[in-house]
Symmetry: C2
Subunit: 331 residues, 2 copies
Amino acid sequence: MAATILDVAKLCGYSKTTVSRAFASPELVTEKTREKIYRAAKALNYTPDAIARAMVRGRTDNIGFIIYEKQYPVVLNPFYSPIFESVLQTCSQKGYSLFISSDRELRLPNGQACVKKQMDGVILAGHSDEQIVTDLRRQNMPVVLLNNALDMEDLLCVTTDQYGGAALAVEHLVERGHRRIGLLAGNFSPHVYLSRYSGYCDVLQKHGLKIDGRLIRSIEPTVEQAIAGAAELLSMEDRPTALFCTNDTIAIGAMKAAIRAGLRIPADLAIVGYDDSENSRMIEPELTTVRVDKTAMGAIAAEHLIAQIEGEPPRKEVIQTAVELVVRETT
Amino acid sequence: MAATILDVAKLCGYSKTTVSRAFASPELVTEKTREKIYRAAKALNYTPDAIARAMVRGRTDNIGFIIYEKQYPVVLNPFYSPIFESVLQTCSQKGYSLFISSDRELRLPNGQACVKKQMDGVILAGHSDEQIVTDLRRQNMPVVLLNNALDMEDLLCVTTDQYGGAALAVEHLVERGHRRIGLLAGNFSPHVYLSRYSGYCDVLQKHGLKIDGRLIRSIEPTVEQAIAGAAELLSMEDRPTALFCTNDTIAIGAMKAAIRAGLRIPADLAIVGYDDSENSRMIEPELTTVRVDKTAMGAIAAEHLIAQIEGEPPRKEVIQTAVELVVRETT
DNA sequence: TAATTAAATGAGAACGTTCTCTTTTCTGCT
DNA sequence: AGCAGAAAAGAGAACGTTCTCATTTAATTA
């Protein structure tokens, strides 16, 4: 039905090889020839078939992006969105397209994981497990981990300093003179949860502050849950004077709870969030939060994956992008 | 290097045809045989090659999603995110993967648009032009438009009732007794901009209210620009008592300007946004806004495209998803 | 102008599947 | 046991490119 390279060749009188070249590497073909070929192609509505191309070249110039997070949908997630955007941009710059996959698509009828689903390499974001990584690599599929760290040979992981970020936030609250600092922790993946939790605890202890279990709430990271959790905390007779929330959505919920309880922010209650998502600047007063360099995360992951695809040997490393406290109006 | 179907066939003693069947349509193969084949495949780390598969089947089970918006990056965009998510989900359900492309990738060296970039159909979101659609269809590529309407034969467009949504918002403000209603309009695509603008004007006129050019500001849809624009409006001696903002980001900027000017919302200034984005519920007080059914938009676009891919003839239609006023606390 | 080199073009195999058609094996029934 | 009919398995072409290598044409030099 659709015209192939052969039809074009026939029409313009050149060989299919030359036609192929006119599209794939125009510089190898005389301008005059090129013109003729393009004209013929246009007349036939010919367009090179990327699949056939990928088949013979053994590469697709596609990269897969797979998120393993149960909590949120993929793209709505305010944490992954900017990362995704950055990955997309880097890939686009280097001539790669991006493919979104869910875990489901990776399964063969025999249970093996597989992404011969036309891509040259894969970014696994979130809490993927070792099995997946092993399966993929057995198929010679380059892999890079994003926002997760697995201790495997030749595996590059791009994360942030979860512990350090939490420590930064709590340290800041202690500096401002707070002694009763609550923790509103989203139940993220174990790696994330534990790192931030330890950051919180260690800083308190370092300053001789007691860790009070009653000031710690573990919740689903939604605004509603955060409002409920914060409300409980704020209704205690010796309520915390500051809250560290392990992401901005939770922090925003906490702010709402505070405002509704008639507390002024930051005078009556200081709040620090985590992620520096878009929302943190939307809310009034603007949220003090921990910024993680998501653009860097995306770019680094994409760049390393592409390097690997293009022949560089994979190496074992955990790259931690910078965290930074952004002091705004809630502290 | 990597094992092919032939290697597996040789190892397990079956023909390549049977091995192919074991993966592509397991029900056509005895369980015993299947077991043996899977075992051999595992031993060789064999995985079917999707490219070769796509080549012979003439289809890829991939769908392209292309956004034409200059204003925002693709995914960060609070308007497109939920749509994208919905498209992703629908595709995934129906066995399709999603491909993100930018305009750039569609161009051949000869200037033609082209997405033989391994996909079976394309969703064009935002202000794509007729040329693109024509080019793609010449290549027998099924196309559906999202958030845009072009008057072309057999072209299905999924949009929302831009005019009606704006009318709903302004009507609501009039009902609450406002006579001086300002318009803070983001400079979106002509289609969107004009529809919402006319909605605003028509409702005012319908109620015998004069359209005052000084109450209308056209801005880039960013928080900063919105703050500046709203601040100007609010500093007039006969300032508006209500603002219709053509998206939530602008509305949030307006809220910030109002709060900073010491105005109470909604007592001193009522505000209505547009889109019902995540942020509208984040801010305090929560924003009254026009909800567009983005989930439906994404799902409908994806479903129609898939139907077309699977053989249904394309038809000309503009499907407008519901708009609805969500009254919250700012009016 | 002839000889040499570079540039442009062409021929044909190869990529790894699935599809159609054919052959073989199995199942159930008389 | 014999036979029909169904189920399972196999043979070989086909999909539309690009790649390597060979050939022709053009450009450069002596």
